[in-house]
């Protein structure tokens, strides 16, 4: 650990002298770029290599190399006994995977999107999440359900729902939402190693995005703790919580707000269940204002839970009502302009922050 810190400091001083990335490749502390797709692929590869019990199952994960190429190369490397193409039968194969987990294997089940997980939701909730409790500890279920969640681009109402709030309401499940490549690697590895059922909500639009990753992140032993949020941007004036793709939006909003003299703290939740209430509350106690951002439907959403938590724990610290930015309360439309109105945009976050800072008056009040 100390060695990494020392290397990082050395690397930073070298960066000032020689900015060319290629020359720094020999210095192990130079940050590499990695797409979320590659991050997930490498995490799966490393965990399958480390533990024979880990196997991957899902539609098109094998010969097709993965519907979104997340499992590229894995069939060739691990063979058809450990990378299994399933028929289009989510209830059946999710149940089979849970049964395999009962017997001690460590399945990673891919849903082509989490919209299809609804066909298997009984197994996720009743067969996986509740088993350890109902059996008083006899039947632990070390399974990971992963796949893209939330809106993509132009895929319409049946293929765009965000399931974070639904799954995160269920005790016995752990629900993770990576944003960056570091998140993707660290959280997927943690999920696979965890003895409990984990719902791992990725985002299709993030798969191709590149993030810089340190050597520590690239190491095969890298792992992030489950249940801990990350403060992506430290700030003083307002707390913005977000997860998955919305973290990017929140960071962009923070840049815009900086020009207006508002210093926003952006929290990347990383874990929806367990929710890192202490990090969120500590931040709100510092900034006194809170905006929650999510892509999913607003009613009974993640933001509603965060708002309730802050009202319960830190009411005296709030200087303004909590603001929620969420997906529109409608099924996802197809037309590009309507779709844009149905999903949070950066300007929505900026506007909400300004309201919380009393820098603007909402439309309804002005009328």
């Amino acid at each position: 650990m100390l060695g990494v810190v020392r290397k990082k400091m050395l690397g930073q001083s070298l960066l000032k002298i020689r900015p060319a990335v290629s020359m720094l490749r020999s210095y192990s502390s130079a940050a590499k770029q990695m797409t979320v797709r590659d991050a997930l692929n490498s995490a799966l590869d490393e965990e399958m290599s480390a533990d024979q019990k880990v196997f991957l199952m899902g539609e098109e994960v094998g010969e097709y190399q993965g519907a979104y190429k997340i499992s590229k190369g894995l069939l060739e490397k691990y063979g058809p006994e450990r990378v299994l193409d399933t028929p289009i039968t989510e209830a059946g194969f999710a149940g089979i995977a849970v049964g395999a987990a009962y017997h001690g294997l460590k399945p990673v089940v891919e849903f082509m999107t989490f919209n299809f997980s609804m066909q298997a939701i009984d197994h996720i909730i009743n067969s996986a999440a509740k088993s350890n409790y109902m059996s008083a500890g006899q039947m632990s279920v070390p399974i990971v359900f992963r796949g893209p969640n939330g809106a993509a681009a132009g895929v319409g109402a049946q293929h765009s729902q965000c399931y974070a709030a639904w799954y995160a309401s269920c005790p016995g499940l752990k629900v993770l939402t990576p944003y960056s490549s570091e998140d993707a690697r660290g959280l997927l590895k943690a999920a696979i190693r965890d003895p409990d059922p984990v719902v791992f909500l990725e985002n299709e639009l993030l798969y191709g995005e590149s993030f810089s990753v340190s050597d520590e992140v690239l190491d095969s032993s890298f792992c992030l703790p489950i249940g801990k949020a990350k403060i992506e941007r430290v700030g003083r004036d307002v707390t913005i919580t977000a997860f998955s793709k919305m973290v990017g939006h929140a960071l962009k909003a923070a840049e815009i707000l900086e020009k207006d003299g508002i210093d926003a703290e952006v929290i990347n939740l990383r874990s929806i269940r367990p929710l890192d209430r202490s990090t969120i509350n500590a931040s709100v106690r510092k900034t006194n204002r809170l905006i929650t951002v999510e892509e999913g439907f607003p009613q009974h959403g993640v933001g509603a839970e965060i708002c309730a938590s802050v009202v319960e724990e830190s009411f005296a610290y709030l200087d303004a009502p909590v603001e929620r930015i969420a997906g529109a309360d409608v099924p996802m439309p197809y037309a590009a302009n309507l779709e844009r109105l149905a999903v949070p945009q950066v300007e929505d976050i900026v506007r909400a922050v300004k309201r919380a800072c009393y820098r603007s008056v909402p439309l309804a009040a002005a009328a």
Binding site: G95, A100, H103, A136, M139, D194, P195, P225, P274, E312
Partner: protein, 394 residues
């Protein structure tokens, strides 16, 4: 019948005298006698896409006596559970298995504890068959600490992982894909063991069953799907629920066998056959023609959709315990009195265990928050009033 016994008992001890009667002071050591006996099942097997096994079943006195005792125990246990439920000591759901005991004991006789069994919610006797104790059953039913799930599961959630019994499931049909998953894991680990996934005639129409069967056949999983056809899915007779109630044929490309589920020896033969098949050729379906005396659950009298004549008819003609009793008596393996003594013993054992179970305390309030996760990560959980009751999950 006594003749056949004589023929096979050439190496038996000194005490053999013919004809034997209970007035003799010397008793044969029957309970350890493993001299083979061959019995013909009364109902032949019907097969689909495979050759039926022989109707000649190998057994021995020890096995038959064990069948008798185990089934008598299960029968008494279920009847006692009925009384406890009516006395409001058991709450919620209670689905009783009396009438179907032959399936549980016959299956166990054909397999080992390394083979897996998974079933739905009518699981009390299956649990006993897998080595669960009476105390664990009654304590769990009454929601006490000594229960197999420490009182947190209830009637539908019995598990015994160390003898590969995977429950105990409340969602109709869910246990079938789960069972195919157990078979997947057995094949993955090259265990040379099989899984028996039990389901009822009601569950036989579930889509997920066919999804799991398709995958099992594609991947050659050692999965044996056992339809315990007691002819009623809750209050709905099989002919009202299934267009084709030939459940052993419903696998289409998967072979099937129809078995007299009230005959423990037929069940044993079928399960033995199925295990051999599954290890070599992948999934197979067994349809056990059986019957439950009780209604679907304790809230169902069981007589609004069936006639009392039908129920008593089955009891007269096909009761599994009576069958074994007749077999034992006709082979002179025990006397009527000895069998009655066994039943008395069993009754006492059940009554004593109930007394013991009643003394087991209810779980500590802190148990509300245990086992939510296998690895709780020190996360907080809440009671109904979160300002009053919070806990850190271990």
């Amino acid at each position: 019948m006594a003749l056949s016994y004589l023929r096979s008992s050439s190496s038996r001890s000194v005490n053999l005298l013919k004809p034997l009667s209970s007035s003799l002071p010397l008793r044969r050591p029957i309970s350890t006698d493993t001299t083979p006996i061959t019995v013909e099942t009364s109902v032949p097997f019907t097969s689909h896409q495979c050759d039926a096994p022989s109707c000649s079943v190998e057994t021995n006195p020890k096995e038959l006596l064990t069948f008798f005792r185990d089934m008598a125990l299960m029968r008494r246990m279920e009847i006692a559970a009925d009384s406890l439920y009516k006395a409001k000591l058991i709450r919620g759901f209670c689905h009783l298995y009396d009438g179907q005991e032959a399936v549980a004991v016959g299956m166990e006789a054909a397999i080992t504890k390394k083979d897996c069994i998974i079933t739905a919610y009518r699981d009390h006797c299956t649990f006993i068959g897998r080595g669960g104790t009476l105390l664990e059953v009654f304590a769990e039913l009454m929601g006490r600490q000594a229960g197999c799930s420490k009182g947190k599961g209830g009637s539908m959630h019995f598990y015994k992982k160390d003898s590969n019994f995977y429950g105990g499931h409340g969602i109709v049909g869910a246990q079938v894909p789960l069972g195919c998953g157990l078979a997947f894991a057995q094949k993955y680990s090259k265990d040379e063991t099989v899984t028996f996934a039990l389901y009822g005639d009601g569950a036989a129409n579930q889509g997920q069953l066919f999804e799991a069967l398709n995958i099992s056949a594609l991947w050659d999983l050692p999965a044996i799907l056992v339809c315990e056809n007691n002819h009623y899915g809750m209050g709905t007779a099989e002919w009202r629920a299934a267009k084709s109630p030939a459940y052993y044929k419903r696998g289409d490309y998967v072979p099937g066998l129809k078995v007299d589920g009230m005959d423990a020896l037929a069940v044993k033969q079928a399960c033995k056959f199925a295990k051999e098949h599954a290890l070599k050729n992948g999934p197979i379906i067994l349809e056990m023609d059986t019957y439950r005396y009780h209604g679907h659950s304790m809230s169902d009298p069981g007589s609004t959709y069936r006639t009392r004549d039908e129920i008593s008819g089955v009891r007269q003609e096909r009761d599994p315990i009576e069958r074994i009793r007749k077999l034992i008596l006709s082979h002179d393996l025990a006397t009527e009195k000895e069998l009655k003594d066994i039943e008395k013993e069993v009754r006492k054992e059940v009554d004593d265990t109930i007394t013991q179970a009643k003394e087991s305390p209810m779980p500590e309030p802190s148990e509300l928050f245990t086992n939510v996760y296998a690895k709780g990560l020190g996360v907080e959980s809440f009671g109904a009033d979160r300002k009053e009751v919070r806990a850190t999950l271990p």
